[in-house]
Each structure stands twice: as C-alpha cells, then as structure tokens.
C-alpha cells in the first residue's frame, strides 16, 4: 500500500494546487497579492503549477507603502519581467497625497496600518472578486481561525465569528456584487514547510532573507534596518550587524534577526532551532494583543 504515499510537502502542494484551481474556476477577476516575500513567491510558484502548461492568467498586485527595501523592489521588477506577468501597484503614498489616509508621525511611525485602505480602493477600482494571499494559519493566533476561502463583505471586513464552514474540502465561492474572497492556499503550511519547499523546488528569493551586513538600530529588543526616513529617539543609535529577515514587509515594521545563515539549508537549520516565532519581530503585531485580528477585520491581509 505504501507505494501510494506522498511526503508532507507533496501533500501540502497538492492541496494548495487544488484550492488555487477551485478559486480560478469559481471567480471572475482573481489577483495575486504579491509582496516580494517568500510566501507570495512560493504561492506564485504554485500558481504556475496549477496552470501548467498554460501561462499564469492573472495579474499580481503589490500594495506599496513607499517604505520598501530596495532589494524587494528590484527583485520584484526583475521577477515580473522574467516571468512575463502583469504587475499592478497600489500605492499608499498616493493615498496619503490624495488625503484618503493620514500618515502617522514620530518615533515608531509606520505606514503598515494604512495598507488596508489602499488595498480596498484597488479592489473596488479593479472589481477583484478573489485575492490570493500567502498568509498561513501558523503565523498568528487570529490567522489560525482563517478559512481557505475567506469571505469579505462589501467593506472588505472579515467576520471571524460568522465564517462559512468548510466541509470535506468543498469550497463555496458564491458572493454578492462588491463582496470578495481572500484565498489562502498555504493555510496549512508552517514557516519550516515553506523553507523546505523552497529548497526542494529551488525557488529564488530576495537576498534579504539571507545573512548580510546592514546598518541597524535596536528598539524594544528588536533589530530594525535603518533608512533615512526612520525617525530615531535620542537613545537609539545606528550600528552595523550581520542580520537576515524572517519576514519582509515595510521597512518600518519588519524586525531582523542576527544570523550567519547565508543559504537556504542554513536558514532551515536556524528555523529548527529558533526560539522566537516568525512574526515575533513584527512591530505591527506587537502594538496590542489583538493587533492582527483588529487589522484583519478591517481588510488587512
């Protein structure tokens, strides 16, 4: 009997492709939320497998805070060119300039919280009915409650207490005009699964994920990259450290870890030994105990 056996990565891959194909069939205007981070890059790889040998037929959407790592943006631009896919950019800076949102000021200011409004605007303008996202349930306690197909009302809101049951993997994609779904094919993957898959499938990632020297400063026991738009408090000072990033978001809210892991294999070893959760260095999650849940309810990824 054991001849019909798949290892855990192949099972997760098969499940993700199944979910992606259901969504591609049930929705009219899907888009892939693409941050240039490892999860969205992995998701892109799975989309390719879902379509193969057809080319990916949906665009990529990047919600750009304007405070990105230069490495992410150059990786993103090379990536879309090489893959021959369409990239759309929803700019938070534009939302600020138009007065749709108001920017935070001072020490610890971040545009992370402004992304939801910019995203919603793009959804309305483009009439997207399905947004593929690389979020995983193991990342955060509110995300542990997510469905593969997560319904959003016409305001983009998530109602975690009243979610549609997912039974026997049969997906219900029915919606009213103006509503949409977030679809999370990587729901059952952990950080380690993603890295092991990246190793197996030889997936390219931005250099930020691997150990390198960088100008950094420390805030509340977390190391942050220094860029000239970051406002420091008097006791904070800039030093140079050997670091890497476990998650990549906006510069202002993504903490780094000191590391010497300069290859996928070494990163995997490091994660196995890690004593802090992946998002433990994310300032956006640390603002309160329910920071993620609160943002998600309002339309965050």
């Amino acid at each position: 009997m054991s001849q019909y056996q798949l290892n855990h990565l192949k099972q997760l891959e098969a499940e993700a492709i199944y979910i992606i194909r259901e969504a591609l069939s049930l929705f009219e205007r899907p888009v892939l939320l693409f941050s240039g981070g490892k999860d969205s890059i992995t998701l892109f790889h799975l989309l390719k497998k879902s379509y193969y040998p057809q080319k990916i037929g949906i665009p990529l959407l990047h919600v750009d805070t304007g405070h990105n790592f230069q490495e992410t943006i150059s990786f993103r631009d090379t990536f879309v060119q090489k893959e021959g896919v369409k990239l759309m950019v929803a700019s938070v800076e534009e939302s600020i300039d138009k007065g749709d949102v108001v920017e935070e000021k001072g020490v610890g200011a971040s545009r992370n919280f402004l992304q939801s409004a910019t995203l919603m605007k793009s959804i309305e303008e483009n009439q997207f009915d399905c947004l593929f996202g690389g979020a995983r349930r193991d990342e955060e306690k509110a995300r542990a409650k997510e469905r593969f197909f997560s319904h959003r009302n016409e305001f983009g809101e998530w109602d975690p207490k009243n979610q549609r049951p997912e039974l026997f993997g049969l997906q219900n994609g029915h919606l009213r005009r103006g509503e949409h779904f977030r679809v999370f094919p990587l729901s059952n993957w952990t950080e380690l699964d993603v890295w092991q898959y990246i190793l197996e499938e030889k997936i390219d990632l931005p250099s930020l994920y691997f150990a390198h020297e960088r100008r950094v400063f420390e805030r509340q026991k977390t190391i942050y990259a220094y860029e000239n738009y970051v406002q420091l408090s008097p006791e904070e000072e800039i030093t140079i450290k050997n670091i890497r990033f476990r998650t990549i978001g906006d510069v202002t809210c993504t903490g780094a870890v000191e590391s010497t892991a300069d290859s996928v294999e070494k990163v995997i070893e490091e994660i196995k030994m890690a004593k802090v959760t992946e998002r433990g260095t994310r300032m956006d999650d640390q603002r309160s105990e329910t920071a993620m849940e609160d943002r998600k309810k309002q339309g965050y990824f």
Partner: protein, 423 residues
Amino acid sequence: MIEKDMLRFCTVGSVDDGKSTLIGRLLYDTNSLCDDQVEMLQKVSKKRGQDFIDFSLLTDGLKAEREQGITIDVAYRYFSTEKRKFIIADCPGHVQYTRNMITGSSSSQLVLLLVDARKGVLEQTRRHLFLSSLLGIKHLVICINKMDMVNYDERVFHNAINEVKQFLVRMDIHDVHFIPLSALKGENIVKKSENFSWYEGPTLLYLLENIHVMADGNFIDGRFPVQMVIRPMREEFHDFRGLAGRVESGVFRPGDEVMVLPLGLETKVKSITTMDGEQTEAFYPQSVCLTLDDEYDVSRGDMVVKKNNRPEVSQDLDVMLCFMGNQELDTKKRYLVKQTTREVKAYIREVIYKIDINTLRKVNEGALRIVANDIARVKMRLSAPLFFDDFKKNRNTGVVILMDEVSNETIATGIIDHRELSS
C-alpha cells in the same frame, strides 16, 4: 528529499475536559512552542491570577474568545516531529458543537476524543462517537484524561473503556485506541509516567506518530472530477487540451481505458502532465493535468472514470443531512448542491426521519423541522445528475454541501447513503 508524512486529526470533548491543556501539552512537550509564546502564556496567566499555565490561550485566537474564556470556532494548530507533520483541528465543545465537530473532522483522518476520568462517558461523548462514525472516521483515540484526579485508578480506566466499547458495537469504527493520561501533569502524552504502572500501551505521541493511515485512501475506484480545462495556446503546446483536477480516488495511468461523464464517451488517458514532468501514474490526493486520446468537449464538473468501474449516476439522492443553517430547512425552497466540482440545484423531497442527538434515536413522527445542528435522513431531487459513490466506499465522491441561493451561506453537508443506516 524530506521523508516525512502527515496526519490530520481533530480534537473533541465536552466542556472543561482539558482539551486545550492537552493540545498545549503536546505542543510544549514536543518543543513546538517558542519563547515568546511561552512568555505570553506565563504573563497572561499571571495577570489573571491563575497559578498554572493556561494553554487555552494558545488556541483561543479571537478577542471575544479570550474575553469570554470559550472557543467559538475551529482553530488549526501545527506541530511536527522527525516522523510526521501534524495538523490539529481543535473543535470547541461549547456552542455549535455539532457544526464545529463536523467541520473539523471532515478534513481529518483521526479523531482524538477526550473523556474526563471523573465523569466517565457522557451524553456528549456518545454524540461525538456517533458523529465520528457517521463522518467516516477510521481511527479513534480515546484519552481518559485527569487520571491524576482519580488516584490513577485502573478500574476507572477500564470502566470507561467498557462503556465506550458497548456503544461502539453499533458504530462503524474499527481502529480504536484508549490511553489513560493527565494533560495537566503531562503524563503519558510524550513521556510515560510511573503513576501508570498498570498501563502497558503507548504514549499519545507515539500512537499519533505510528498509527497507519496511508491505506485509508481509496486506490480502487478511479474518479477524476475536472476542475478546469487547460489550453496553453503556445507554440510548443499547440494542440494541448488538458483536464486539470485532483484524483479523488483510484489510480490513473497513461493508456488506461476511461469514460467521460456525463456524455459517456470512451477514450484512453494519453498523458499525465505536471510542471515536474510527465507522470507514469496519479493517485489521491495528487493534483495533475490529464490529456485524453480523443478531443472531446469536456468541461468543469465532468468526471473521468475507469471504463469498467463507474460511479452511480442519478438525479435522486439519499443523504444523511448535517444541518447548520441559521434558518430552518425549507422543503419548498431550491438549494444549490455541490459535489466534487459539480454544482446543481436541488430541493428536499422528503424528510424521512431526524436523529435525536441526545438519545440517538430516530424521530419520524409529527412535523419534522430541521434546524441548526440537526441530523436528518432526507431524499433530494436534483436538477441534473451527479456522479457519486456511497460515502462508506468513497469519502471524496460520496459527499455534498448545500448552499442557500439567497444568503450564499453553506447550510449543510450531506453524506450519501443509499443503504439504510442502522440506528
């Protein structure tokens, strides 16, 4: 190559039987928790004046849940050992337990059921056993928890086993394991405890790591529902027309004689195409792309089956309906029914009986109103035929969901059963 397999299980139990503690223990004792999580647990537990670590804080993810101290919805947890990756669907025992247990166990291979040693087998325990059997669960692990509160008394354990076994005689689950343990003290979960000198069986983790589940799949009846049609329109794949989908059961190989439903067209499998190259076989749960020898007009919702092994094809369906809608079931209304990748309309022709979830007896007198958390045997009439197997034979092609056309909600799941269930 990483050779690790995967086990999906769900945890169920009654109120206050220590389920969260058990899950927390499993995660903690397998080093699956990180320092920041443990710190958070200690901090919040202390703030609330609890002198032990409250592991439920790990599983209760929503603000409302933590405020009220109850779990509202199924939460998913992950941990991993050298041998296996585990996916836990944690089903709350408080509100909507039927809906939650059905949701959690529908994607599970094993049910882990908790029994409080002090209370023994309760009505709720029997309901969980009944639902496990109804939902086609093949492996059951029954943990008799809080053994430390009954002085590790062997008789308590054996009494519970006997009670469960008596009940299971009428059920359709054959692989059942019993473990006495204390989740709070971490005994018999990852490590054996000397307090159970009379217990010679495995620890919970050993059992979860070694229980044999791969043979559970159906590798006999070839069923391939078409999800989407792949037309590359590229030079190197000029005439390529592929059928993308997941093998729901059986094994497909190039050269296999197949039939495409509903038209009943006969042809052969030409290739099994994936981005990793052409495959020599495909089986559940692989997602692949099939091409056929003949260029038929095949679309989503059609099904490729083996020529000599066909599913039932019918517009009439007998199901055990597990209802979870907010409004009661309306026999005058049209509903949407989804099975594999096929969607049709349906109405309820007849409610034959309802199961009293407390006594597990059939109720077939008076007006049979079906409301949330009810289980009922119904006859449905469909707008077009479905291609299905009996649920007992095929867990993937033997099940439907019902959706409300107006609210778009998923209101029920139906377990296809064309034989009469014993009660």
